[in-house]
């Protein structure tokens, strides 16, 4: 049964999590955006801030409503928490008999995600499928994912570039959380409907000053999600999309987008599911110790497809096509799911506002209409 937590008591949730030894990560306003950082108290949250997002544009605006979670997703995603941007894998020391490999272990820590959105929970699940449930699990990723408490937040607004409703990933978190909050902001009555998704969630909820929810509140929460779903900034027709894209590898739209795309890689960096990495081997000056680090890589770099003699994908057209077809088509073949959760980050944070929904739709159309 859902319960209700007064907005004024939200800090109790933060403290309950901290009290259980979780490092609480959540939305924080910094440098003109809402990013993910440590949340020590509820007051650290971006109270009253809304984000206005469009292709290639993001601004924060202050509102009077005093809501804790009135914004949508920002430039960061939980990818940085689990599939970290840069990490060392091992060191190698040279010695008389050859060399020894000294692996780096992932730090084990309990992490609580405060305010994960439905699309983000899906994105984490997609990365889990690739990095944990494949043939060769990534041990460091798996370790980071091993003790995570998820407090989901159901979006009360749809962002200007959101299309989770099209991708079937939101705006309401259906599973994959320990607790899920829906913020209800009414004059004089600011509260959260709290759904419990796990035993851990129930145990935490039991420590909070909550009361059972009444049917009106449950209904109000449901209509928050319905309103949000109806207000999506973007939509994408996914029926037969995979086949449409894979059939259209020579569509003229690829040439068109290539004149606009900068191959800067921002879209892949901000995408919560993009998982590609680069490895770099280094040595100390004396040549006695070597190490290998891993960092996020992008299919938009020339080096990504480099083989002896040159790059396989030297044109921007080929790189954009690789990205879009991988995300929306190849991913299904590889992992049985779309690689896109409709969060809209790649649209907002593309410096020139290239819109995946527009491009996919255009490529999916017969040539003369495209």
């Amino acid at each position: 049964m859902p319960v209700v937590l007064a907005a004024a008591d939200l800090d109790a949730l933060v403290q309950a999590l901290a009290g259980r030894g979780y490092r609480v990560l959540g939305p924080v306003a910094r440098d003109g955006a809402i990013v993910i950082d440590d949340v020590r108290r509820a007051a650290d949250l971006p109270i009253g801030l809304e984000d206005v997002q469009g292709p290639g544009r993001y601004r924060l605006e202050r509102r009077e409503h005093g809501a804790f979670f009135a914004f949508t997703v920002g430039p960061h995603s939980w990818k940085q928490t689990f599939h970290v941007p840069v990490e060392r894998l091992f060191q190698i020391r040279r010695h008389k008999e050859g060399f020894s490999v000294i692996p780096d272990e992932a730090p084990r820590q309990r992490i609580a995600l405060l305010g994960a959105r439905a699309c983000e929970i899906h994105a984490i699940a997609i990365q889990d499928r690739i990095l944990i449930h494949g043939e060769h699990p990534d041990p460091r990723y798996a370790a980071r994912r091993s003790d995570v408490f998820v407090v989901a937040v159901n979006c009360m607004r749809a962002g200007g570039t959101c299309f989770c409703a099209s991708m079937g990933t939101g705006p309401r978190a259906e599973r994959g959380f320990d607790l899920a909050l829906t913020e209800l902001v009414e004059p004089g009555d600011h509260r959260f409907l709290v759904e419990i998704g796990s035993d851990d969630g129930a145990a935490v909820a039991a420590e909070l000053p909550v009361r059972p929810a009444n049917p009106e509140e449950i209904g109000a929460a449901a209509s928050v999600s319905e309103r949000t779903a109806a207000a999506m900034g973007r939509r994408l027709d996914t029926s037969g999309l995979k086949e449409r894209l894979q059939k259209n590898l020579e569509h003229p739209r690829w040439d068109d987008v290539a004149t606009r795309c900068l191959a800067c890689g921002n879209c892949t960096m901000v995408c919560p599911t993009c998982f590609c990495t680069e490895f770099e081997d280094t040595t100390d000056l004396a040549g006695e110790t070597a190490e290998r680090t891993k960092r996020w890589e992008s299919c938009f770099t020339l080096g990504f497809s480099h083989v002896h003699g040159g790059s396989v994908r030297s044109s921007i057209k080929a790189r954009y096509r690789q990205w879009l077809t991988h995300k929306l088509a190849g991913w299904h073949d590889q992992f049985g799911t779309s690689g896109c959760v409709g969060c809209g980050r790649c649209i907002t944070w593309c410096p020139v506002g290239i819109d995946i929904t527009e491009e996919a739709a255009a490529v999916g159309l017969p040539e003369k209409d495209g």
């Binding site: 960061h76 941007p85 004149t259 606009r260 921002n266 000056l285 996020w296 992008s298 938009f300």
Partner: protein, 270 residues
Amino acid sequence: MPTRKKRPKLAVFKFASCDGCQLSLLDCEDELLLLADAVRIASFAEASSRVLRGPYDISLVEGSITTPHDAERIREVRAQSRVLVTIGACATSGGVQALRNFRDVKEFARVVYARPEYIDTLATSTPIADHVKVDYELRGCPIDKRQLLAVLSALLSGRTPSIASHSVCMQCKLRGNVCVMVAHGTPCLGPVTHAGCGALCPTYHRGCYGCFGPAETTNTGGLEWALVAAGASQEDIARTYATFNTAAPPFRRAQEEQLVQIRLKEGRRG
């Protein structure tokens, strides 16, 4: 396994430049003595009176070619060098002094010198690669000292130095920065600029001004949209490309595109 046998010879050569890139080597305070153990510093005039004769295993070349004498000298350096690495914007693209390439150098000399006839200079400032074969290039005005150390360590270990040539944006995102162009409306050349600095300017809330020169892929025409949306005028855009890597072809073309548009606009008005 045997460790390295012979200490390779490292030499540093200077052409027209501000000395900043070779100074980066002296700025490696923690590694300088280790480096001196790993290599024989055979020639590094800024730091040492010692000059060992070539050939050199690794030569670092700073600066651009601006005088007839230097055009000769770089050939000698190349002949003496097994691996030649150019360091910095001057050596890789002609540097800020290449602004002369597109103007009358005599006029420049008159602005600065009362007796310009004493000054012996070429009309252009050109990158080293225009004169001799270059093995690796380190970009930046100035270079990043961590990159310099990484390249030296790589060469000492027989590894291809990994010099990421993608956009500054990638490094910016790896740092977790908020994009200054999308979120602040600050014009930024990051999307077309070569990585290496670690996205310094955006980290300090300013737009990248391209001091690492053009990235491997540069769609400057595409970027114009964003720069204009962020409030840059075409004059601003042209000037920004015309600084520390003004003669790098993609940046040069970007300036020219802007200048042509400005002239067209003026023509229409006039």
